[in-house]
Symmetry: C2
Amino acid sequence: MRSDVWSDLVDQGRLLVRLGKLLTHRHVEIYEGVGPTLGGMLAALSKGGAMRLTALADQLQVDTSVASRQAAELVERGLVERRPDPDDARAGILDLTADGHAVLQRARERSGEIVAAALADWSEAEARQLVELLTKLNGDLREELCGGRERVR
Amino acid sequence: MRSDVWSDLVDQGRLLVRLGKLLTHRHVEIYEGVGPTLGGMLAALSKGGAMRLTALADQLQVDTSVASRQAAELVERGLVERRPDPDDARAGILDLTADGHAVLQRARERSGEIVAAALADWSEAEARQLVELLTKLNGDLREELCGGRERVR
DNA sequence: CCTATAGTTGCGGGGAACAACCAACTGAGG
DNA sequence: CCTCAGTTGGTTGTTCCCCGCAACTATAGG
């Protein structure tokens, strides 16, 4: 069976990773000094709504320690608010502040512009299709990688 | 105009980055102890044929210093051979050794298997289409990011 | 009391950029 | 020719960021 397709996919994925990193790291500080990874956290909070640190870490597929530090920084910058969970004194609920929303909004616009410039000759249909396929891909990968109960270890 | 599409694309891209990293880092050492980044260099060499360090760095979109160190390690492991460029005593030509080819071959098979498992329910047509779109995306991004003469700074 | 869970902090490591550097290839003038 | 300035190919040192693991605290729940 044609395993070349998968290999090609892996290769292209790898390149995309690099380019994406360049994009976010170069066209600098899209998130107004926050950087791409913290920006990802903002985006996750926006999409998923207020949630606990562990949930956020799970969403982002990073270790809780990583999420903890990132969250701490965002809180310090006033982009995220942390309030105690009324049901559990150990836990905290993280949520975007008004500032966080604003920063994220501007960032989305800006990165959108950049991508739009690069992809000026794309039809919207193509773009949508790509997004759709990527979404499916991510879903399946996620399931394969962590859906199986094996912990991240 | 619908900038949501681009934002979604950015978000999905980011997630893919994370998942890809997990995949290569977890299903561990696909390249027999070489690791994903060095593997990428092997793949680039395979696809582009023997080339100079600078060309390789350009392909991979990394700084020459990074490529230099990676190449050095691959040479040390005997997966890549470095021979002097007859036309330029400063330069060297990097090329895969037989071992390098073998390792890469096995790695491609293995990562292909993993992806295939995760994407078992995909049709080959879908996969091909995704690869096609990704390739196009990468091409355009690359052009936008570094095609413009502005240096990386 | 004992175990499991939410989070934090202290390591350590890997990937990458930047800058400073050496070496060798240019390409004018003299 | 010859030399010297400028350019280009590579390497090394430093630093930074992101990450995972391990150890720890504190609360929850039986």
